[in-house]
């Protein structure tokens, strides 16, 4: 069963349709599926709902899908690092569903684990709780949050073998595993495809069962906020 594809466009072939729900990995610009986003821009798929913690920046990452007006709705915890997002949002060209960051991650993980709903204390008594069921456990209020079941997951990992076993690197792991889990189909871009058996089976972060298609490519890996200390501080 061949999982390795030649390019991002090939890997997405047949998987895109207008109005679909896509779950995307990444936090800020760290660990984002750059190449797959570019291929979706190229494909021109419209009216997308995207579950992703953030929405990129002007001209990079998911920001590109904003520029091309392919996004109908974002499900995110923190957005607006780009002017185009705010312009479209204030003009009501873009819908926005705020999710607390942990609720968003857990909703993805829940969707992937066949859990349609779970209770959390996060957001109780706030705007986030509006319209949501409240239930008491052990004398305290919790709200019901629903699992996210995406049509497609787009994910960035560090290494993969050809069966789709994935390894991530440092904080670039972030939302990638939960995003991968919640999609009907999951397409992954990696920096390196390694030989089967070369990844220690104890150290695989996401087993190949979650991964349907893989591409290897070059990543820009742009840094959003370069912060350093001077060597004198040491």
């Amino acid at each position: 069963m061949k999982k390795v594809y030649g390019s991002a466009s090939e890997a997405l072939d047949g998987l895109l349709h207008d109005g679909m729900l896509i779950a995307a990995g990444g936090f800020g610009l760290c660990g984002i599926p750059e190449l797959l986003i570019d291929a979706i821009v190229e494909a021109g798929t419209k009216d997308l709902t995207i579950a992703s913690n953030n929405c990129g920046v002007d001209g990079f990452g998911l920001g590109k899908l904003l520029d091309s007006k392919q996004i109908k709705k974002m499900m995110s915890s923190y957005v607006g690092e780009n002017a185009e997002f705010m312009r479209q949002y204030l003009n009501e060209e873009l819908e926005l569903e705020f999710n607390p960051q942990g609720t968003l991650a857990e909703r993805m993980r829940a969707g992937g684990a066949g859990i349609p709903g779970f209770y959390t204390k996060t957001g109780v008594g706030t705007q986030i709780a509006e319209g949501k069921e409240v239930k008491q456990f052990h004398g305290e209020d919790y709200i019901l949050e629903e699992g996210i079941f995406a049509d497609l997951s787009i994910v960035k990992a560090w290494k993969a073998d050809d069966t789709g076993n994935l390894v991530f690197r440092k904080t670039a792991r972030n939302f990638n595993p939960p995003a991968a889990m919640c999609g009907k189909v999951c397409v992954v871009e990696v920096e390196e495809i390694v030989e089967r058996g070369s990844l220690d089976p104890d150290h695989i972060h996401l087993p190949g069962i979650y991964v349907h298609r893989i591409i290897q490519g070059q990543h820009e890996k742009r840094i959003e906020k370069v912060t350093t200390r001077s060597r004198e501080e040491a």
Binding site: M86, P100, Q101, G102, T122, V124, K170, V226, T228, R229
Partner: protein, 214 residues
């Protein structure tokens, strides 16, 4: 009334005072702004910092030229790792936050009410970027410590009878550290724990809208 910046502790003194709240062995989450400075004052205490994008054991900023795009904190700044560091995904990260494994979060705020309600994520009519992990943190961690100026730029108290802004969490704040002193959320209102250098109880009371109890 004078803007509060003129009185009591400065930003670094507030951060140093907040660092006193942390106990040996604690896992702690620091918000952006003044809370970030707290890391400079933990001294010899064995404190492990969480970055909620998926890391425990957050180290200092890298030296120039050693930035790693795969290694950032929740404020999206480049950082470094330590010998105790571990990485994990966002669902696991917020599992430990929601599950009460993080002993304390030190956060900034726009408003705190005397019942512990906290508002720090949006101002209606202004651009709203989102709550990020703030709602998860205040609902989940063991102890929520707010560090903020006592008054806003207009000289109005940020410690209120009830919050006017949309809430981040209800009844979540345990302790407030401002430039004027330290207050705890207790039955019936706020209790003064400590006064900042050169601040009198009268000055603090005058600068506070919230009910102060003994």
């Amino acid at each position: 009334m004078m803007p509060s910046e003129a009185m009591g502790w400065d930003r670094n003194q507030m951060a140093a005072r907040a660092a006193d709240e942390l106990e040996d062995g604690w896992y702690v989450n620091l918000g952006i702004g003044i809370p970030t400075l707290v890391a400079n004052y933990v001294g010899d205490k064995d404190i492990t910092l969480q970055s909620e994008n998926g890391m425990l054991g957050m180290g200092p900023f890298p030296y120039e030229g050693e930035e790693d795009p795969d290694l950032i904190n929740a404020g999206k700044q480049t950082i470094t790792e330590l010998s105790r560091t571990s990485y994990f995904d966002s669902a696991t990260s917020f599992g430990m936050i929601r599950g009460g494994k993080i002993a304390a979060a030190i956060l900034g705020a726009m408003e705190v009410a005397e019942n512990g309600d906290l508002a720090n994520w949006m101002i209606p009519g202004k651009l709203v970027k989102g709550m990020g992990g703030a709602m998860d943190l205040v609902a989940g961690v063991g102890r929520v410590i707010v560090v903020m100026d006592h008054q806003n730029k207009a000289g109005e108290s940020k410690l209120l009878k009830s919050c006017t802004l949309p809430l981040t969490g209800t009844g979540v704040v345990d302790r407030i550290i401002t430039n004027l002193g330290v207050l705890d959320v207790v039955e019936g209102g706020l209790k003064i724990v400590e006064l900042a250098d050169g601040v009198t109880e009268e000055q603090l009371r005058e600068a506070t809208e919230a009910t102060i109890v003994n």
